[in-house]
């Protein structure tokens, strides 16, 4: 019957980025991965840099002088913002993935209200909190550099 050769139609990594669909929770999933990778990359370097404190005050001062350029200051602020988002979205994911705030099963009646709708207030609250964290970090940064 079927002698035809099948052709792969998997989206691969493009499927992570939406493949044409852009739900709000999908943006959060992509951003959670991107911020996680960003913080991880910084963290690996951070372990190396902060280990310099074991070599005494003069080595430490030289190391800190190397990371005082505006690009590093901005980079660290971006890491702070990334952490803020990742942490707050992480709290949201821990709650959802342990069954809290996804809603109980009920007989679906069209138009369907799914777990997506049920957790939307939590998602919005999480994003607002992430903005607050980013703003606090920004205020602190600006006050340090006055």
């Amino acid at each position: 019957m079927l002698t035809q050769k099948h052709r792969s139609n998997h989206l691969g990594i493009w499927g992570w980025l939406g493949g044409g669909r852009w739900g709000f929770e999908r943006y959060l999933y992509i951003l959670h991965r991107v911020t996680g990778l960003g913080v991880l990359a910084y963290f690996v370097l951070h372990i190396g840099v902060t280990s310099m404190r074991t070599l005494g005050p003069s080595v430490w001062a030289r190391t800190m002088a190397q990371v005082e350029a505006p690009i590093f200051v901005l980079g660290e602020y971006l890491v702070f913002v990334a952490f803020g988002f990742h942490a707050v979205n992480g709290i949201r994911l821990v709650l959802l993935e342990l069954g809290i705030s996804v809603g109980k099963p009920f007989e679906p009646v069209y138009p369907y209200r799914t777990s997506v709708h049920h957790q939307r207030p939590l998602a919005i609250a999480a994003m607002l909190l992430a903005v607050v964290v980013a703003a606090l970090g920004g205020v602190n940064l600006l006050s340090l550099h006055q």
């Binding site: 998997h10 499927g15 669909r21 739900g23 929770e25 996804v102 099963p105 799914t114």
Partner: protein, 275 residues
């Protein structure tokens, strides 16, 4: 979109015949659109008048069999359930479901999904196998207990959720929303005693661990099954089980027919079983 009798759309359909085409390509077909016309109606019109070789799966044409799932304007939908006017575009792009191999034109190879589905044991498992195979009575279940799984039992296995899932796009080991939601449907059915039988498979790579709540599956499901909800509840039950905190539910008991029950006057006997 213009809803008058002479409204036209272009169906941009992804065609592929492995015996003729080196790779898939898009072909355009102009169609006159009548009010109430679905994408499935459009495909039939094209097949009947322009391109008899156009292939897709279809059966009920009323959103219950799940055969006609395909990518319509970038989203996985049922062709019979999608009104052309509702799409609101002059060009309707139709392609086979993604995240499955394509057999031909709009026909996806769903065998991988069904093989995974079978591996997760989507059937009632009872310790008393004899009663299972040769039932003597009903299992007792309250309507509250039924509510725990009823939503997930509405699945028509169309594959839309699998096409929408970002993890299924790249990860061949991940079971995908449909098999996991159906495994959960049986795990929470009080008539089932198969949690232990499914645990081994679900604790590994085939389990729900690579779901990250992108929740596209629940957005696109045409029957409101909400597989994302099922998967999160499944994670909860598996983690509680790992921490030895899961309360083992009481399996549904039998509700035998009362011995002194009498048939009412005028109610005929059931026909003899033929199987």
């Amino acid at each position: 979109m213009n809803n008058t009798a002479d409204a036209e759309v272009v169906f941009r359909i992804r065609r592929f015949d492995s015996e003729k085409d080196p790779k898939p390509h898009y072909e355009d077909y102009r169609l006159k659109v009548l009010p109430g016309m679905t994408v499935l109606d459009g495909l039939w019109k094209i097949k009947e008048t322009v391109s008899p070789s156009l292939s897709w799966r279809v059966s009920c044409r009323m959103g219950i069999c799940g055969s006609c799932a395909m990518m319509i304007n970038g989203l996985p939908r049922l062709a019979c359930n999608t009104q052309i006017a509702e799409l609101g575009t002059k060009v309707v792009t139709v392609a086979p479901l993604v995240n499955f191999d394509t057999i031909r034109d709009l026909v996806p190879d769903l065998s991988s999904m069904f093989e995974t589905h079978v591996r997760l044991k989507p059937f009632l498992i009872r310790k008393d196998e004899h009663e299972s195979e040769h039932p003597t009575a009903e299992y007792k279940q309250t309507s509250e207990e039924m509510e725990n799984y009823l939503q997930f039992s509405y699945c028509i296995k169309c594959g839309c959720c699998m096409a929408a899932c970002p993890t299924s796009a790249s990860d061949r080991q991940y079971s995908g929303p449909m098999p996991l939601a159906q495994a959960h449907r049986y795990n929470v059915d009080t008539r089932d005693e198969g949690f232990d039988a499914r645990r081994n498979e679900l604790s590994g790579e085939a389990g729900p661990w690579r779901c990250h709540f992108g929740s596209e599956c629940s957005r696109v499901c045409p029957k409101g099954v909400d597989p994302a909800k099922a998967i999160q509840w499944m994670k909860r039950s598996l983690v509680l089980d790992y921490l030895h905190l899961r309360k083992r539910p009481q399996a549904a008991g039998l509700a035998p027919v009362p011995k002194d029950a009498k048939r009412r006057e005028g109610v005929p006997e059931a026909p003899k079983p033929t199987v």
